[in-house]
Symmetry: D2
Subunit: 336 residues, 4 copies
Amino acid sequence: MIIIVKNHADKGQLDTLLQWLKGQGIQPNLSVGTQQTIVGCIGDVSHVDIDLIRALDVVESVQRIQEPYKNVNRKFHPADTVVDCSGVKVGGGAFQVMAGPCAVEDEEQLLTIARAVKAAGATMLRGGAFKPRTSPYSFQGLGAEGIKLLLKARQETGLPIVTEIMNVQHLPLFEDVDVIQVGARNMQNFELLKELGHSRKPILLKRGLANTLQELLMSAEYIMAGGNSNIMLCERGIRTFETSTRNTLDLNVVPLLHRLSHLPVVIDPSHATGHAWLVPPCAAAATAIGADALIIEVHNDPPHAMSDGVQSLTLAQFATTMAHVRQLRPLACHDR
Amino acid sequence: MIIIVKNHADKGQLDTLLQWLKGQGIQPNLSVGTQQTIVGCIGDVSHVDIDLIRALDVVESVQRIQEPYKNVNRKFHPADTVVDCSGVKVGGGAFQVMAGPCAVEDEEQLLTIARAVKAAGATMLRGGAFKPRTSPYSFQGLGAEGIKLLLKARQETGLPIVTEIMNVQHLPLFEDVDVIQVGARNMQNFELLKELGHSRKPILLKRGLANTLQELLMSAEYIMAGGNSNIMLCERGIRTFETSTRNTLDLNVVPLLHRLSHLPVVIDPSHATGHAWLVPPCAAAATAIGADALIIEVHNDPPHAMSDGVQSLTLAQFATTMAHVRQLRPLACHDR
Amino acid sequence: MIIIVKNHADKGQLDTLLQWLKGQGIQPNLSVGTQQTIVGCIGDVSHVDIDLIRALDVVESVQRIQEPYKNVNRKFHPADTVVDCSGVKVGGGAFQVMAGPCAVEDEEQLLTIARAVKAAGATMLRGGAFKPRTSPYSFQGLGAEGIKLLLKARQETGLPIVTEIMNVQHLPLFEDVDVIQVGARNMQNFELLKELGHSRKPILLKRGLANTLQELLMSAEYIMAGGNSNIMLCERGIRTFETSTRNTLDLNVVPLLHRLSHLPVVIDPSHATGHAWLVPPCAAAATAIGADALIIEVHNDPPHAMSDGVQSLTLAQFATTMAHVRQLRPLACHDR
Amino acid sequence: MIIIVKNHADKGQLDTLLQWLKGQGIQPNLSVGTQQTIVGCIGDVSHVDIDLIRALDVVESVQRIQEPYKNVNRKFHPADTVVDCSGVKVGGGAFQVMAGPCAVEDEEQLLTIARAVKAAGATMLRGGAFKPRTSPYSFQGLGAEGIKLLLKARQETGLPIVTEIMNVQHLPLFEDVDVIQVGARNMQNFELLKELGHSRKPILLKRGLANTLQELLMSAEYIMAGGNSNIMLCERGIRTFETSTRNTLDLNVVPLLHRLSHLPVVIDPSHATGHAWLVPPCAAAATAIGADALIIEVHNDPPHAMSDGVQSLTLAQFATTMAHVRQLRPLACHDR
């Protein structure tokens, strides 16, 4: 951390600043120039609230050199974290595909899809029971009943299940769920993150629509600060000025997150594009760049899906996509 | 709503579409051209999930003409909503200023500030008890204790209090609070919005950092759909590419929201800029353009505030700002 | 400027870096910590290409402390620049309004509008002769003929004229023009900026749709580096995710640019909103926050304008807006 | 195109609108509902300025159904355009790699790089003679001398050369250049585009930092409207809120542009990331998703490059990247 001191600061003020820093456990290193005085702060300052320093009278500006996150930081944990999702391992060189419907609609729909995605090579089953919808008038998911159907599908297919939580109070309903998803709109629902930190369940943490990677990692830090390191980071498209797609897939994140953090990176090409025909090429690119897993929306009858039909692959399209992805995987980048 | 039909659609498919629409209570109006067939859907379609139509096989694209929100729409409720905050009225021509510290720190701090902002002309007291912080290592607020101190400050000054909720489970703690704030990061925490819809308390709903006005209004619609129409919409700056300020104040929203909705509009120049010296000019602009209220962070000792010190006005700066704002208010735009 | 040195750097490499810096005329100041080595560079480094340093082997990262612009920087030129536009002064406490049609269409149209805006209080006449249009099939302006008509309108009304240049080769046509406008899409047309630096004409430099203030100031620096300091900075709305308006007016820029630079700041509420009904409230806010001038599109018959009819005020609307702005001006912020 | 008529419109006004449309060669199709009247406009309306209609008194809003571009539209030209760059074909199933330094620095540097990239498999040589720089104090390129050196390198290696134009007046200097590049900041320099439309040279048109695909295609339409269809569309990263990279690579564009247009699509992973270590994974992803060509910055001594050293591959890194890309290419998506 580097503190630029205001030009007019006198010695007394400067001393007070240095004392203040030492009181916070920071070792300051003073460089006095003719025009500018700089205080370099060496050591671990990830626990320091930089805004407190910024507000001080003699401080012109403050710049962090080191990341404000520690637990999720690869610097302090060089080995890949491998998240064990009831036997299916994500990270550390493995490659997994999570697939299933946007929303659980009924038993027959879910079982049909679950069997088909398993046959095509998916290793986990996704499906929404609680659905975050922009409109209060849209289908909100089957709720607790949806989770029961997912558990039934797991029993039949053996696929671990991934489903989204939207409310801290629903946590007891997720007791038998294999992976708990935190949606993009809840990425900074800090109360939810704190609660999930007390769990030991694998968490699929989605990046918000307009959040930086640092913010995503700080949200993961919230969970790890609570003691839960079973976290998968998920890119699901960001909001840009382009209006012909729902979102824009940001694949820079795969090598970037792999360098910044030891947590595995999952790519969701369905939400990132919003159009089924764009999912296979984006899944291919995500595989080539070295994603640890994909999460893809699949439906047995997309035109009549109760949500996200436009972006859902048919069972046949998913099988073709899986075949392509399997061919590409051996050529994927290994960026670590 | 206008549906563009795919070129290859045959009569059978088209009939199925028309039947499907009628089944949803929509009256379709067919325009068959030589190159393009268009179905115009007349009437109230705010309850229709447009994505369901978009997913249908014969549909090329769908465009809404009417807004997807109804309760918050001025078209269906031409008169201004006036939100009564324990006697202080927001909307309908009144002008209010909410002021106070970012976070409640202790009794003396809060009372000092409360008395001073009241003396300067503030009509409500703001203060955070539960603080959403990007880092798990930053000060998270005093919690329940903070709310008790706010109630004490209200008792002494008579100012109604505004404070933020972050967790559905905390709702019982807010029983005596006058206005419940939903922060920008929770604007699409739909579970929280649903719960607040069952309350009758005034809600200060902040716009998310990268959300459109339509999304803000859909979030307000969630609350109104539950029966609570005591909603104030708050602009607190949006994220842009500019890095010299924390956010960018979007003042277009004042006349826009006034036209789209009957709900009052509150401007927060503190978060919108992130720098105390930018707050007075932005408060002036917000007043001139016709905001119904301002919400401003004020601290008795900004350099030592436990959060947001950089953007907090001193007591003296706030008094000067109030004096300026009072001069400007009679010249404010009346856009309705 | 602060250089963070890579951890593995040995003494030889560090010495080479320090020599390199001295070769560039920079005085380095070394802080060696146990974990991190920092080189503080004191003095004027505005002429240094920071990317050259960033590319060096031993450099981890580089952060500027001082602005990369010098001529336009208020630190080196504390007094307001007053731009003399053929007798009409912009900046330094004066307040001006430029008004006129988006495009010059014909003599009668232009003279009608010019007379009306003068009567309402405008002090300069705007009008496009060369029009930048997204589509090659849209009206591209009258070109040289348009400039002739503007000169005629000036002769009759005495209002100095402002019109846009799009091509370096057109410069001879602008010899008698009072103010040359550089449009948002040409803000980083560096060849054009260099050429205008050799002129002494007042330049109205518009901010690009997605550019930072630093980039705007660097473009102004291009012009000043050539010797021309007659520059007005113009905010005309930025691109955001909001789709209900053409752009989003960013008023933070008025106090920000006034602090960073000595150049006057002009606000264009017409392009910033794209809707005539939003222009008066935004003009009011821009006046209150302390803009040095406004530039507003006015047309005698907006529904039949050849461009930008939707955002053009009628003659009557402009007169009302001027009356309001005149009332507000004495209460405007003085941020310097 | 669909026109929503204002509710209060009377029959006379509606008739005037219909006449106006017919006068523009548009065939209107009226749907009168009880609450809303809609005019569907069938046929080719790409030449219509939609804003003219939007400004009309009786018009509530207008929505395009068809694209506003025609020449570049795949609907009207289903076969891939193959751009012949002095014998090297881009598009139509071929795959090319353009490589070379950001800026031409001197003969030895250029020839060293040119020979090495050719040996590694590059099929074209890139190099900047005129450099657009944010700062007037940064190296601006060798200018005409740089083009001479590029021609010499072509003579020796046989690689066609790609170099950027920044000024219409420089066009004569580009007479022997094989491909003329239009940089991101000039994407909407319409005067330059018009001029290039009169040429028959291949144009590499880069997308602006915050431009939509429709805007990119409209800029290509400008060139094609002048008669030049030798256009390659180039994605070079867009500006997002992420600050850890220079830009964000948007790979959605590859399948999207292939569907919307018949023009080939080139990906620039160097500018899209700004860091050499991110270039190989992004090049891999771009290849997998089906890009027609890549353009990559390579330097023999990146730490001492005169520009863009941070993002330039070394000769060895480029060779490794080429080997990987060659393996991936047979598995690339064929999205047409």
